[in-house]
């Protein structure tokens, strides 16, 4: 009995000292990656990592540094990093991957396989495409933010108030890539000179066909794309309007949007009907249109509706003729709504998409006019 008690006590006591993993590692033995970039030259991958260095103590401070390495595969490059700072990289806190457009043009699947397969990188890492510039350069011009890749992540999150770039996580991208009837898109990042400083700018999106990058959309085109994909969460609609020679620039703030895509057979032809229903408020009027009258409001409304319809139509035309890539997921919608028809047209969908008819109907509901009822007047 005594022996048993002693054994039990020593076992419990040991729990405090022998706990943990098989080969535990202290945080100092790791380099925590906050994000990384992938470039490809010929057959060699060049990777640059932003690594968080934290100094403990009373005044806790985090700083980052960049390390690059190269290898035959992504994983090879990641492990080759050990040659330089001598630490193993730890990926579970990586939030952003920047892929250079040159590498993406040759196919993005080889670049993503590691992130998809390994357990450390998380599926909600976000992907960015560096437009016409090495991805490495973006990290180098990170500016003075504390952890640059985390601020990129915040920038992407904040895009919901601008809707000029999509926010795409690795798993969404892989799911879209694997599905038939939709091509994926990714946000793009470039460098721009501002106030004598080169700073990164996230705007627009990259269009894929299969797993290869084929072109870009600018900011406003991306907004139309998000409208079609029903992913608008906010942002502005801005337009110069003239009503009876009264000019004004008006901004509408989007609060809510619902887009419906409906495939239809009309006169033996496939027609895709897109209808958007947007709740907005008048956010700004620089001019003196009096919108307290219903008439005027209707005019504003119809101007904007027409504008939005045209933008969406233009984008669809561009995707059909220039990129020949179904980035809107029309095929997916047809598959869901008309499965029997899709079975027939699936093999020739790529051809069919180029010529498919699309009708767009936009509806904008002006819900309020923010804080004031009338524009500022100049009384003279």
């Amino acid at each position: 009995m005594k022996f048993k008690k002693a054994l039990l006590i020593s076992l419990i006591f040991n729990c405090f000292f022998l706990s943990g993993c098989w080969n535990y590692r202290e945080i100092e033995q790791f380099s925590i990656v906050s994000g990384f970039s992938i470039d490809k030259s010929e057959n060699i991958y060049n990777l640059t990592f932003e690594v968080i260095e934290s100094a403990g103590g009373r005044d806790k401070k985090t700083s980052t540094k960049l390390i690059s390495s190269e290898g035959l595969t992504i994983f090879d490059a990641i492990r080759n990093i050990i040659k330089y700072p001598g630490k193993k990289l730890y990926f579970s806190h990586a939030k952003v991957v920047i892929i250079s457009s040159e590498a993406a043009k040759e196919g993005i699947i080889p670049l993503l396989d590691f992130i998809n397969r390994d357990i450390e990188p998380r599926y909600n890492t976000k992907i960015l495409i560096s437009k016409n510039i090495e991805a490495e350069k973006i990290l180098e011009n990170g500016g003075n933010t504390e952890i640059f890749c985390y601020s990129l992540d915040d920038m992407l999150d904040a895009q919901k108030n601008l809707s000029n770039a999509p926010k795409v996580e690795v798993w969404e991208f892989i799911d879209d890539l694997g599905k038939i009837g939709i091509s994926p898109t990714l946000p793009t990042i470039t460098l721009e000179k501002k106030n004598n400083k080169v700073i990164p700018k996230i705007e627009g999106s990259a269009v894929f066909k299969g797993d290869k990058l084929v072109g870009y959309l600018n900011g406003s085109e991306t907004k139309s794309l998000l409208f079609i994909k029903n992913k608008i969460k906010g942002g502005l609609l801005t337009k110069k309007i003239d009503i009876e020679n009264n000019y004004a620039n008006i901004s509408l703030e989007i609060f809510n949007n619902k887009t419906k895509i409906k495939p239809k057979i009309e006169n033996n032809k496939l027609l895709i009907e897109i209808s958007t229903d947007t709740d907005v408020s008048i956010g700004e009027i620089s001019g003196n249109i009096d919108f307290s009258k219903e008439e005027e409001r209707k005019k504003i409304k119809s101007y904007f509706e027409e504008d939005l319809e045209n933008q969406i139509k233009d984008l669809i035309k561009k995707a059909q003729t220039e990129y020949e890539s179904d980035i809107f997921g029309f095929g997916k919608v047809i598959k869901i709504k008309m499965p029997s028809l899709w079975k027939e047209i699936e093999p020739k969908w790529k051809e069919l998409f180029k010529t498919i008819d699309v009708s767009v109907k936009s509806n904008i509901n002006i819900k309020n006019t923010a804080f004031t009822s009338n524009p500022i007047k100049a009384g003279d």
């Binding site: 098989w22 080969n23 599926y123 909600n124 799911d175 694997g178 598959k335 869901i336 709504k337 499965p339």
Partner: protein
Amino acid sequence: MTKETISDKQAISMIVMFIIGSSIVFGVGSEAKQDIWLAIIIALIWAFIIMFIYVKIYSLFPEKNLFQIIDFVFGKYIGKFISLLYIWYSFHLGALVLNDTFQFIKVVSFPETPEYILLIFMGTVCIWAVKEGIEVLCRMSSFFIILLIIIIILVSSLSFSVMNINNLRPTLYNGINPVLNSAFGIFSFPFAETVIFLGVFNFEKSKNNPFRIYYRALLFGGAIIFILSLRNILVLGSSFLESLYFPSYTTVELIEIGEFLQRIEVAVSVVFLYAAFIKISSCLLCSCKGIENIFNLDSYKILVAPVGLLMMTFACNIYESIMEMMEWAFLVYKYYAFPFQVIIPLIILIIAKIKTKKQLKSI
């Protein structure tokens, strides 16, 4: 041997844990794609029919377990042979689940830890629990099932924000065949594996109602599997889901509520480990009871440690890699398990019916 008594509720929770078992992380029936919910319902209906056989066997021979029934039905020699088959089945199933467990832990959390360390920890606990007897296992599962259900409900409700209803459409796009095929897979893993419990429980006629136990457990376990599979497909979509070994784990990984509530996928591992522990223990118990019956031993408890150790060694060497394991689990297993789950119980029931009728007549 002292009589071990269990209540209906405890037995139900043990079977539910068994059903949740390894299916919670591996996911079931991914070849049905978006129609997985339909496949699960079909599998449940089949399982309900098969359960009828199991329950009938129980009610014909109350207070006996599978091996005693087999002895009675097939006579001494053929009976021993069929008992051996069942011992093999439960032993092999236990090893499979043990293998699942450490493969999962190895891939997800401890890639550098040697396999046998993980095995020893899981295996020893199972041996200990089985040595303590069925009562302990049952009481433990009736306690832990509450925890599991809370975790499952909490985690599933958190993933509402990432769900997309379009992932379920279109229904029956590829026809009914893949659905039936995957329903067959779901039927054999995990629902009809409950055949093991014929060898585990010795119900008391006055206290237990096998009909109620089996059907409630199946309904409950089936509902959990249904909810989890539906959640996985709603969040991940069929094309991404197919490529994953552990869909539940990934689904939970995607939950990100603000900056503070994320990385809760460990919750899935917790559920899995508890459920797998019950499953391994049930299989171990079943094979020990079978061996006890073959050799007419007084108690199976003396067998637990050697059989458990054998199971651990077997689990360690059964597959070369996780690819091989998946191939076996999703392609071969359903055909391999069919005789054990359906054919032999059916034969037992038919012969038993005839024999008992003859007995009645002769009196």
